[in-house]
Symmetry: C2
Subunit: 295 residues, 2 copies
């Protein structure tokens, strides 16, 4: 049993209680920012919480390892957890409330609802994690229903997820502004992830090929390359400079629609999406190249 005593951070376990708190804040005309997480917080989450605190009066961090977005063969049971440290990080980053419901609170036995999004969910992560985005969409609507936010902050690291959530919010008339913040990286370039804890020291060094691959592809675009096949080859070739890597996908795509033209146009924003397994650890990363900015 963990007891976290804090003057500033209020821990909420019940949906009803969370809704009452949100109602009270809204009645006082306080804006609510929410940062949905699966816990095991790192500097990437902290940057999202900071961002939420800058644009809203009160920040709710949600911590919920959502079984509905994991497949049977995935790492649900071993997903890392450290509630006490999460409380410290959330509070330090500017959170006022931590909403951490139990699985039973979120999915009682008679639960029977599922939200599906077509189109954008059908490729990349959707291919390798078939019901993943249904689980994400459903839990996001539930978390929004509990926390009643004005704004929600997500990390760019889950790039396809941010597109799915924007689609979801627009389609269901959820009056929540979706803000996406850049991926935070270790000094060497590895995108921060709770799953990095699975990596051995060797694997951590090897995993630098992921950000390197994306950097190489962006450099090629900056030098004028617009062939999708060429760009994908640059990604793949860089990734395969290490052994013991399994590529789920490494692809250039339109940054808004995720469409994959043979040849990108000069004015098209391009996202480079990578998902690999290094040992047993699945890692994803991405970056967007925008023709109108110097990136």
């Amino acid at each position: 049993m963990i007891f976290w005593v804090s003057m500033a951070l209020e821990i909420v376990r019940s949906i009803k209680e969370m809704q009452l708190i949100a109602d009270n804040l809204r009645l006082k005309n306080k804006s609510i920012g929410v940062v949905p997480t699966m816990g095991y917080l790192h500097d990437g989450h902290a940057s999202l919480i900071h961002a939420a605190a800058e644009i809203s009066d009160k920040v709710i961090v949600t911590i919920f390892v959502n079984p509905m977005q994991f497949a049977a063969n995935e790492d649900l049971s071993r997903y890392p957890r450290d509630f006490e440290k999460d409380c410290q990080i959330a509070e330090k980053a500017g959170a006022h409330f931590l909403f951490a419901p139990s699985v039973e609170e979120m999915y009682p036995t008679d639960f029977a609802t599922s939200i599906s999004i077509g189109g954008i969910t059908r490729k990349f992560e959707g291919v390798f994690r078939p019901n993943h985005f249904d689980g994400v969409a459903t839990v996001v609507v539930k978390l929004f229903g509990a926390t009643k936010p004005h704004v929600a902050v997500f990390g760019q690291k889950d790039y396809q997820q941010t597109l799915v959530i924007k689609r979801l919010v627009s389609d269901l008339n959820l009056d929540v502004k979706i803000t996406v913040k850049p991926t935070i990286r270790e000094t060497e370039g590895l995108a921060m992830s709770s799953r990095n804890v699975y990596l051995s020291e060797d694997q951590r060094v090897q995993s630098l090929v992921i950000s390197q691959a994306i950097t190489n592809a962006i450099e090629a675009v900056q030098n004028g390359e617009r062939s999708r096949e060429q760009l994908n080859t640059i990604l793949k070739t860089t990734l395969l400079t290490i052994e013991n890597i399994e590529i789920d996908y490494c692809s250039a795509a339109n940054a808004e629609s995720l469409e994959e033209p043979e040849l990108f146009s000069e004015n098209e924003s391009i996202v480079f999406l990578v998902a690999v397994k290094i040992g047993n650890t699945r890692l994803i990363d991405n970056a967007v190249w925008n023709p109108h900015s110097n990136n």
Copy 2:
């Protein structure tokens, strides 16, 4: 083009505008009641609007003939409409706002989201209208997103729908109280429905077998009958006293779970559900028998 000029009823076409109105009401601590309809309002709808006005400060009636809940072979294109009369009825019954978005406003071309509910949707209406409840669930979440109600009032006539919506609201943590009000009937017993307008004079008389069938079944329960087969036979036999009727289903079921035991227990609430076609017109009706009340 119809112009409806009213001092009391405000017509809203845009989702954003509806959300702003709802936000303003909520900031002033006004409770919002919503009555979702497909228009062509009758006394049944008026009773729901009255009920909403009794339990909330401001009433929003929504009028939207939702294409997503009609199958290709159903009556979407010929569904009856009379916007001016709807405005009059809504206002007279106590509505303050009428939210009547266009199909394009609700389903822009890139719309891609669908909500599914398992279990309770799989039988009765769900068998004869396979994607109907997905369409209902999706539009209800959208309408709630636009109108931000504290309470929503639905008619018991769509009995299975009320169970589905309660499940939906609970599953998605939508903080909306669902209130169900009794079916309003013509003096002869026919449940009021916008679709009654399709009936010829003869068919209208014939259609009285529906409420008669349910009355007969309830009488049997009151006299101690608990065999589902017997009760269903009473329903069926009464319905088949007219010609030119096609029975989709006529069934006794547990009033909460819609389960169908061989023998109902003494303390079980039983719903009698009927769906038939008379000519080309599909009509549904139901009544609940409750062991603890004198009905």
